[in-house]
Amino acid sequence: MILPGNATVTDATSIIALPAAPLHALEIWSNPQDLATRVHKALGFALPPMNRSAGNAAITLLRYEPTVWLVEGDTSVLADTLGDDGALTAIGGGIVRFRIAGPGWRELLLEGGVFDTSPAALPVGATAATVIDHVGVRLFATSEDACIVYVPASYAQSLHHFWEEALPLLGA
């Protein structure tokens, strides 16, 4: 029963800002099927569908938009396959990645949010772009225990503070 005042601090849930990484936006504007085939051949895996991820040790693609993928890692192979059907644009400097790990990560991301972070709506490997406390963020459920949140750099510090403040509420 959820009684007033019996909050327990879940120490196990942590928020860590990850070091800056090369991130790119891959946008496809023409011949999507052709290009998808070329990319599949070059990378060894298919472009992920909406709100899903795919990748290997060198590169991860996260699809948040119908025509745009967020690419994390080495884009050299990808760049050569695009031809005149798409382009890569560097965006890493504008994004801070947070790793939220521990049993409370799904509950923490409901704080100030509007998106259902339950495993049914955000299974491991899934991605979702949404709003947390008025800030547009992108979620990537990397495992049962952790999620990466991509936050606009300008909001990173205050959103981090927002989450730290909300930690004691977990399980409250």
Binding site: M1, I2, L3, P4, G5, A7, V9, A20, A25, E27, W29, S30, V68, D84, D85, G86, A87, T89, A90, I91, G92, G93, G94, I95, L110, E111, G112, G113, V114, F115, D116, S118, A121, D133, H134, V135, P152, A153, S154, Y155, A156, Q157, S158, L159, F162, E165, A166, P168, L169, A172
Partner: protein
């Protein structure tokens, strides 16, 4: 000994204070229960007449017993004593009384009640204004509830999203069953209950067959969530509800920093098991302490072991109140009379005399304690010696959420009640709200003047009659004229009583008289809860520029700019803002300065159709730009007015960088997406918002080129040229753009490397006698140069021609706004045009109006005022009717609000280097 007492079982272990006196309470007591247990019947003073008031109910519908709980910033005024649970150290205070609760000076207003009747506030508006000024002070002192705390609330408030298949509101017998059924069917269930324990009516009328605690455990074991002290306060579109959860009681210190939580819940299905609220009975002095609702009396006896009176009269029009008689008798109280308005009723407990066709007419008492109840029985009056009257005028189904959801009501004649009917959302009502006990209409027996209907707003039957007499026919007018149902209880106990009276006056049935609208919240919500984490920092996160920490080391004056914070000036040696800005601007004019321009809107546009898209968005030509070149550009809205401005650069064959204003960056991002994806989805191009990817540094001044050449080891591009380069070991874009009027560059660098680049440029600039400059210096520089700013001269009403930019328009057309610009009104020669103003005497007041002579209508206004940076003398930019053709004219700038005035001469807006010679090397 009369008055409320406690049944001697259980320990009173919790200490609290009420009006400074210490008392004890039992675990689980509401403040109301604890006060009654301590023999306290007088709890507050009424809103308008300051009449003594006691505790009338045992729930959230309480209109009378409003107290302030907590101290300092945690104080919560207007807390219902029936809806707050006592905790150790709780500090509660009565309200609206002076000097003390039992002796209140303003209660003599009660004697003036005839003058303060319905519509009193409205009536004060008529007649001379100076009379109103006198009334106002009087009304403000006299009328009111508790005082808002003056200190900031130290607690946090959380706002969280919630999702469930089934949301059940109310943990009474019907709600518990609905929640358990859904949980057993494998649904994700939320059950919310405003009380601190589950059970609802079972807490008053226990049923050995139902164990609320066990049901809650079962629901939770099946994965359901049960929220206590949580009120479903709003029902919005598409099964979206807001729940306000108290994590601690009002005024208590929350262990984890959060006092309350607002849940935003999207539910697949909603089950409303919200029950009934009992109707009071109108009779003279029915607001006296010692007049209590029948079910409330039963709750105090059964749930809290508090007997609110020794000698009790019960007045009812239904069977339910007979249960109260039983409870009182069991608790050892004497029921001196049971007044049943009906001709017959069920059997009463032994020893209780039932009077049929009996209605209460008045009560009286002494020192706020009830002494006598007078009733009309048959045709004659009879008085009873009593210290409590338990009343029941029937029941009102709690249909607030149902109505907020857009539901319909059905009239039940037997119960004289509106019952929830169909609902357009996925929502149903269950339980007693669908089946209120039969309770016939009863004509009030007492004098209308003191027969209160709305206890919290001091509205009596006589006030309703007066409103009717003065022509207020609709229920909505009645509400506004009398303030009925407008207090913090939103008429939970009063609306139906009043509506019956109105229907009676109109000679129609109650449903024909109509109902006022139900609006959220169901019970009052603390402002902090609505603000959430935004209660601090003006409700928004601060957006930090990449170099925030670096600037902070210079201790600048910060300027909030939208959500951003940017350095406004870097004062040294105790300079004022103006002194610092002037020094910084002079440094730029004479040596070099560097400034943070990271917040500029920036878009990378790539692909074979990139230029096509840009020629749609930009009102200037773009396609002819050579690789490595850029130009000033501006964007129009579809109606032809300028929307934003910036620069566009061709970085490579199929790649462009477009910059736009800071303030318009989000708007521009949306606009770019609209044009590219909605309007022209066939274009082969990619638009990426890189506003935050790049940190931007402007380097300006006669020495800028030399500084940059030394830092990059390469000849910087000429004015409006672009070149990639390396600076401080980091790849950068160098854009030779100028906003200041000096030879200048914007250096854009991936934000995570911006600090190294800034530090290198700052050191080199300082070595040349330069310095960083902030927004204030930038403003002085751009005004002198005659550059427009979005939000200043570009005010949403100015065309390119108005701003002197007409010559730059793409002659081929085809851009957004081209059609709008052809409207004849936009080429009216008398439109407001951008001009410069040179003062012929003192400073020019910013925002001042431009007139020819005193007393004339304004012909324009000053958009930005400054001084000449080197020469001195006041200048300004202004929008002036027909201004392009009025250079040389003398005008007056006047600012009546500031009491400032200046004589000015109209000039070109380009005060500084109009030929652009300083851009040449």
């Amino acid at each position: 000994m009369s008055g409320p007492t406690r049944v001697p079982s259980g320990e009173e272990t919790i200490e609290f204070t009420f009006d400074g006196t210490s008392y004890h309470a039992r675990q689980g007591d509401t403040l109301a229960a604890a006060l009654l247990a301590n023999g306290i019947g007088l709890v507050g003073r009424s809103f308008k007449y300051h009449r003594p008031r006691g505790i009338m109910t045992a729930g959230i519908e309480e209109p009378n017993a409003l107290v302030t709980v907590g101290t300092g910033g945690r104080a919560e005024p207007n807390t219902r004593a029936t809806d707050v649970f006592v905790y150790p150290g709780m500090v509660a205070k009565s309200q609206n009384r002076w000097p003390s609760l039992s002796f209140d000076v303003a209660s003599i207003f009660g004697l003036a009640a005839p003058a303060l009747g319905a519509g009193f506030y409205y009536k004060t508006f008529f007649g001379p204004a100076k009379h109103w000024l006198r009334y106002e002070g009087f009304i403000r002192r006299a009328a009111g509830l508790g005082n808002a705390p003056t200190e900031p609330d130290p607690d946090n408030f959380s706002q969280s999203a919630g999702f469930c298949d089934v949301l059940v509101v109310g943990a009474g017998p019907a709600g518990l069953k609905a929640a358990l059924d859904a949980a057993e069917a494998g649904k994700r269930v939320w059950l919310v209950e405003q009380d601190a324990v589950p059970g609802g009516s079972l807490l008053r009328d226990p049923d050995p067959a139902i164990d609320p605690g066990a049901m809650v455990e079962r629901i939770e074991a099946l994965g359901g969530k049960v929220f206590l002290r949580t009120t479903a306060s709003g029902y919005w579109d598409h099964n979206f509800l807001t729940l306000s959860q108290r994590l601690v009681e009002p005024g208590a210190v929350p262990p984890h920093g959060f006092a309350q939580r607002l849940w935003h819940v999207r539910a697949g299905r909603v089950v409303l098991a919200t029950g009934l609220i009992e109707r009071p009975v109108p009779f003279a002095n029915n607001d006296h302490p010692g007049v209590m609702l029948s079910q409330a009396v039963r709750s105090y006896v059964r749930r809290w072991g508090v007997v609110p009176g020794k000698r009790v009269v019960i007045a009812t029009n239904n069977d339910d109140a007979y249960l109260t008689a039983t409870a009182l008798v069991e608790a050892g109280a004497e029921v001196v009379a049971l007044l049943d308005a009906r001709a017959s009723g069920p059997a009463a407990p032994a020893g209780v005399t039932v009077y049929h066709d009996a209605r209460p007419a008045s009560v009286s008492g002494r020192k706020h304690a009830l002494r006598k109840v007078t009733a009309v029985i048959g045709g004659s009056e009879q008085s009873f010696d009593a210290d409590l009257i338990a009343v029941s005028g029937g029941f009102v189904p709690v249909s607030h959420l149902h109505m907020q959801a857009g539901g319909k009501l059905e009239w039940n004649v037997e119960a004289q009640a509106f019952i929830p009917g169909s609902n357009p959302q996925v929502c149903e009502t269950v339980g007693s709200a669908l089946a209120p006990p039969p309770a016939p209409a009863v004509a009030p027996a007492g004098k209308a003047k003191k027969s209160f209907v709305d206890f919290q707003n001091d509205v009596s039957l006589a006030d309703i009659d007066l409103a009717w007499q003065e022509g207020y026919r609709s229920v909505e007018h009645l509400k506004r004229y009398t303030t009925l149902g407008m207090a913090t209880d939103q008429g939970k106990t009063s609306n139906m009583v009043a509506l019956s009276r109105l229907a009676e006056k109109q000679g129609v049935t109650v449903p024909e008289a109509g109902l006022t609208t139900f609006r959220p919240p169901f019970t009052p919500v603390t402002m902090g809860l609505l603000a959430g984490a935004g209660a601090r920092n003006a409700g928004a996160h601060v957006r930090r520029i990449p170099l925030h920490a670096l600037h902070e080391a210079h201790d600048p004056i910060w300027q909030p700019l939208g959500y951003w914070f940017r350095p406004r000036a870097y004062p040294v040696n105790g300079e004022t803002l103006q002194q610092a800005a002037l020094r910084e601007a002079r440094t730029v004019r004479t040596a070099a300065g560097l400034s943070d321009v990271s917040t500029l809107g920036k878009f990378e546009v790539s692909g074979p159709d990139a230029a096509k898209l840009l020629e749609l968005v930009c009102a200037t030509t773009v396609g002819k730009l050579a690789v490595g070149r850029g130009r000033y550009t501006f964007m129009c809205r579809e109606d032809g007015f300028v929307n934003d401005d910036g620069t566009v650069w061709r970085l490579a064959e199929n790649r462009y960088l477009l910059t736009s204003s800071t303030g318009g960056a989000d708007r521009m991002a949306h606009f770019m997406s609209y044009v590219r994806n909605s309007l022209r989805p066939e274009l082969k191009c990619s638009v990426v918002n890189v506003q935050e990817y790049y940190g931007g540094i402007a380097l300006a001044g006669p020495k800028a080129r030399g500084i940059l050449a030394a830092l990059t080891g390469a000849e910087p591009p000429r004015h409006m040229g672009y070149a990639p380069g390396m600076l401080a070991g980091v790849p950068v874009h160098v854009l030779a753009a100028s906003y200041s009027g000096e030879r200048a560059f914007e250096i854009h660098v991936e934000a995570s490397h911006a600090a190294a680049v800034w530090q290198a440029i700052e050191a080199a600039t300082r070595a040349e006698g330069g310095a960083p400059y902030g927004l204030e210096a930038m403003e002085l520089l751009r005004i002198e140069k005659g550059h427009v700013v979005v939000g200043g001269e570009v005010d949403g009403r100015s065309t390119p021609q108005d701003l002197g930019l007409g010559g730059m328009l793409n002659k081929a057309g085809g851009f957004i706004g081209a059609a709008g610009l052809t409207r004849p009104a936009l080429s009216d020669p008398n439109r407001n045009n951008l001009v410069g103003l040179v003062s012929l005497d003192g400073p020019i007041p910013e925002g001042g109006m431009l007139i020819q002579r005193a007393g004339q209508s304004p012909q324009g206004h000053v958009t930005a005022a400054a001084r000449r940076i080197i020469e001195g003398g006041a200048i300004a930019l202004a929008l002036l009717q027909g201004g392009h053709h009025r250079h040389g004219e003398e005008l007056i700038v006047t600012s009546p609000t500031r009491g400032e005035k200046a004589r000015v001469r109209v000039t070109s807006p380009h005060f500084y280097d109009p030929a652009g010679e300083r851009y040449r090397d």
